[in-house]
C-alpha cells in the first residue's frame, strides 16, 4: 500500500441470503481511496454502492450479509479481520459516514449540541487513552467543563458555515430545515476529525438549490480538513460536480475507474458511455435520448460473464463467458471490459 492510499478494497465478494435466493451484492470489488480526495462512486439503484460503503465502515448487518472473500485495508490493517471492539475504534475518528436522510440520521430526542458533543468526546477519549493504553481500565477521564465542550461544538458548526451556532446547539433536529440538518450531520461526522467520510447520497433528499449549497460546502471543506470523501450517488451530474476521481458500478462490480475529467470526456466502458448518452441535457434535446435497452439485472440472477452484456451493443460471444477484470488501460484509467 503506497503512502497516498488511505483505504484499499481488494476482491470483495459479498452476498445476502434471502428467501428469494442468494443476492450477489458485491462480486469482487477492487477500489482504492486516496488521501485528501473525493472519490465519486456512481451507479443505479441496487448496484451495490451503498453496500460497499457500509462494508468499508463495518456497519453491514451480518447476517443476513455474508462476506465470501476479499480484504479492506486501512492503516495497514485488514478491517475484515478486526474484532467488533477494534472496529468500533476505527469508526468515528478513522472512518465515518453520513446518510441520505438527515431527518432520520439525527436522533430526534437529543439536541444538536448533545449529538455533536458525542463525536468530540469519542475523539478526545481516544487521543487521551493512546499514550497509556494499559491503564485504560482505570477511571474514565472526567468530562471537561460544559463550556469547553460547547466551544468545540460551536467550532464544528462554524466549520459547516452555520451562522448562528449558539442557538443551533440547543435545538432539536425537527426544529431545523432540511439543509440545516444536512449541515449538522456533516458537522457531527467531521467533529471527530476522521480521515475518511463516506457520504451516502447526502444530497438526494434536499432540493436542488440546497444541494448546490451542500456541494459547494463539501468542496470548500476539502480544502480545510484533512479528510477524504467517498461520495456515493446515483446522479452523474452531482458526481461530476464534486469528485476528483470516479468509480462506476454496475450490478455489484466496478466497471470503470478514472479521474473525473477523463471519465466524462472519454468514457471507455460501454455502460458508462450509454448511460451518459441517455441523460437528458441541453445537448440531447434535439437528437433525442439514446436509451439503454432492457432492465437492470436482478442481483439474484446475474447473467453469466460480464453482467452488462445482454444490454451491450458491442457485446461479443466471449462477453457471456468471461468476467472481465478491472484493468488499467491508460494511466489511472481502469476499465472492466474485454478488449476488442
Amino acid at each position: 500500500m503506497s503512502t497516498d492510499e488511505l483505504v484499499k478494497v481488494e476482491g470483495l465478494r459479498l452476498i445476502f441470503e434471502t428467501l428469494y435466493g442468494t443476492v450477489k451484492a458485491l462480486s469482487g470489488v477492487d477500489l482504492t481511496i486516496k488521501r485528501r480526495e473525493v472519490l465519486g462512486l456512481v451507479g443505479e439503484s441496487g448496484c451495490g454502492k451503498t453496500v460497499l460503503g457500509l462494508s468499508i465502515i463495518g456497519l453491514l448487518p451480518i447476517p443476513p450479509g455474508k462476506i465470501l472473500d476479499g480484504k479492506i485495508y486501512y492503516q495497514g490493517r485488514n478491517l475484515l479481520e478486526l474484532s467488533d471492539k477494534d472496529m468500533e475504534k476505527v469508526r468515528g475518528t478513522g472512518i465515518t459516514m453520513i446518510f441520505q436522510e438527515p431527518m432520520t440520521a439525527l436522533n430526534p430526542v437529543f439536541t444538536v449540541g448533545d449529538q455533536i458533543t458525542e463525536s468530540i468526546k469519542v475523539r478526545s477519549e481516544r487521543s487521551s487513552e493512546r499514550p497509556h493504553r494499559e491503564k485504560a481500565e482505570k477511571p474514565r477521564m472526567r468530562p471537561r467543563s460544559k463550556n469547553s465542550w460547547s466551544n468545540e461544538v460551536i467550532e464544528a458548526l462554524k466549520l459547516v458555515r452555520i451562522s448562528d451556532p449558539q442557538s443551533i446547539v440547543r435545538r432539536y433536529p425537527h426544529e431545523l430545515s432540511g439543509g440545516m440538518r444536512q449541515r449538522v450531520m456533516t458537522a457531527m461526522a467531521l467533529a471527530a476529525k476522521p480521515s475518511l467520510m463516506i457520504a451516502d447520497e447526502p444530497t438526494t433528499a434536499v432540493d436542488v438549490t440546497t444541494q448546490a449549497q451542500v456541494l459547494k460546502l463539501m468542496r470548500e471543506l476539502m480544502e480545510e480538513v484533512n479528510t477524504s470523501i467517498l461520495f456515493i450517488s446515483h446522479d452523474f451530474g452531482v458526481i461530476a460536480e464534486i469528485s476528483d476521481r470516479v468509480a462506476v458500478m454496475y450490478a455489484g462490480n466496478i466497471v470503470e475507474e478514472a479521474p473525473v475529467y477523463e471519465l466524462f470526456e472519454s468514457p471507455l466502458h460501454p455502460y458508462t458511455r450509454a448511460l451518459l448518452a441517455s441523460l437528458p441535457s441541453v445537448a440531447s434535446k434535439k437528437k433525442g435520448l439514446e436509451a439503454i435497452a432492457g432492465e437492470v439485472p436482478s442481483l439474484v440472477a446475474l447473467p453469466p460473464g460480464c453482467a452488462f452484456h445482454p444490454r451491450c451493443r458491442r457485446a461479443k460471444k466471449e462477453c457471456s463467458l468471461v468476467v472481465p477484470k478491472l484493468t488499467e488501460v491508460s494511466p489511472n484509467h481502469k476499465v472492466a471490459c474485454l478488449p476488442d
Binding site: L59, T93, T96, P108, V122, H174, A189
Partner: protein, 338 residues
C-alpha cells in the same frame, strides 16, 4: 406555559370521552336491562321496594330525563345502594378503592420494570436464545387466564413453600393498619414510620402484585422489543455507530431513549388490563379492593355496585391516560406545545 396549554387541550379532549363513558354506563345499567327497577332492587326485593327504587332513580321516566337525573345523582355522590346491605355504593367504593390502587400501582411498577428490561434484552440479542426465552416467558403471562396464575402462585408459594402469609387481605389481623392518610398502606406506614405495618402489608401485597404483573408485563416487553428493533433500524442508530460510539451506548442511549416513547403509550392499556384483572386476582387473594367487590356483587346480582365499579375503573383509566400524555411531553421533544 406551553405545558399548561397542552394539558388544557388534553383536558378539553377528555370532555367528550367522559360524556361518552357516562352515557355508556347509563345505557348498560338502565337501557340494556329489561326491567331495571327490578334488577336494581335485587332478586329478593318485594314489589313495593321495586316501585320505590324505580321512583327514587326515575327509572320509569323517559330516557333523556333519566340520563339527566343519572348524571346529577352521580355528581351529588349518589351512586345507588346495595340491595342486600343497603350500603351506598360510593361509600363502599371509597373504602375499597385505595386497596385496588395500591395493588395496581405495585403491579404496574413490577411489570414495567420486568417488561422494559426483557424487551431491551430481547432486542439487543435478537433471535438469540435469550430473546426466544424472554418472548416465550412473556407469552405465557399474556396468554394465561388471570385465575390460573393466581391459583398457581397460591399453590406453590402458600401451600408448598409456605413462603408468604396465606391469602387474606392487606395486613394480618394481628397487626394494626397504619393511620389513614392516602389509604395506601405502604405509603401510610412509611410516612408514619410504622415499620411493623410496612413489612406486614408488603408481605401481603407482594404475591397478588406479582400475580397481576405476570399477566401483563408481556404487553410492555413486547412493545419495548418491537420499538427497540424499530429504533435500531433507524439511520440515527447507524449514524451513532458511524460516529464511533460503542455498541452499548448506541443501544442503551440512542435506541432505548426513542423506544421508551411508544412504551409510555402502552401504560394506559396495561393499567386498564390490570384493573380488569384485579377482579379475578383480588377475589382469589381475598384482597379487599373494588375488584373483589365487583366479583361478589356479580354473584349476588347487585347491579348498582357493578355499574359503580365499572364507572370508577373507566374514570381511573382516563386519568392514567392523561398522565401518560403529560409524560410524553418530557420524552418526546417533537410534541409541539403550541
Amino acid at each position: 406555559m406551553g405545558l399548561v396549554k397542552y394539558v388544557g387541550r388534553r383536558l378539553l379532549l377528555l370532555v367528550p370521552t367522559l360524556f361518552g363513558v357516562l352515557l355508556m354506563v347509563f345505557v348498560v345499567s338502565r337501557v340494556l336491562i329489561p326491567n331495571p327497577a327490578r334488577a336494581w332492587a335485587g332478586p329478593r326485593a318485594d314489589e313495593e321496594t321495586v316501585r320505590k327504587i324505580g321512583e327514587r332513580y326515575h327509572l320509569y321516566d323517559p330516557v333523556h330525563i333519566q340520563f339527566w337525573y343519572y348524571v346529577t345523582d352521580l355528581l351529588r355522590g349518589d351512586w345507588g345502594h346495595s340491595p342486600s346491605s343497603g350500603q351506598p355504593v360510593l361509600k363502599m367504593i371509597k373504602t375499597f378503592f385505595p386497596a385496588t390502587v395500591e395493588l395496581a400501582m405495585a403491579a404496574m411498577a413490577i411489570s414495567i420494570l420486568i417488561g422494559v428490561f426483557l424487551g431491551v434484552i430481547s432486542a439487543a440479542n435478537q433471535n438469540k436464545p435469550i430473546d426466544h426465552g424472554s418472548r416465550i416467558f412473556a407469552l405465557f403471562g399474556v396468554a394465561s387466564p388471570p385465575f390460573l396464575i393466581a391459583l398457581l402462585i397460591q399453590l406453590i408459594f402458600f401451600y408448598h413453600l409456605q413462603l408468604f402469609p396465606e391469602s387474606g387481605g392487606r395486613i394480618s389481623h394481628t397487626v394494626l393498619p397504619p393511620k389513614y392518610i392516602t389509604g395506601l398502606f405502604l405509603v401510610d406506614s412509611l410516612v408514619t414510620g410504622n415499620w411493623t405495618a410496612f413489612w406486614n402489608s408488603l408481605n401481603h401485597l407482594i404475591m397478588p402484585a406479582i400475580a397481576l404483573a405476570l399477566l401483563y408485563f408481556g404487553i410492555a416487553s413486547r412493545l419495548t422489543r418491537a420499538s427497540m428493533l424499530e429504533a435500531m433500524r433507524m439511520d440515527y442508530v447507524r449514524m451513532a455507530r458511524a460516529k464511533g460510539l460503542p455498541r452499548r451506548t448506541v443501544i442503551y442511549k440512542h435506541a432505548l431513549r426513542n423506544a421508551l416513547i411508544p412504551t409510555t403509550s402502552v401504560m394506559t392499556v396495561m393499567f386498564a388490563y390490570m384493573l380488569g384483572g384485579s377482579v379475578v386476582t383480588e377475589t382469589i387473594f381475598s384482597w379487599p379492593g373494588v375488584g373483589r367487590y365487583a366479583a361478589t356483587s356479580i354473584l349476588n346480582l347487585e347491579y348498582p355496585a357493578v355499574m359503580g365499579v365499572t364507572l370508577i375503573f373507566a374514570l381511573s383509566v382516563i386519568l392514567v391516560n392523561l398522565l401518560a400524555d403529560i409524560l410524553y411531553v418530557f420524552l418526546d421533544p417533537r410534541i409541539t406545545l403550541r
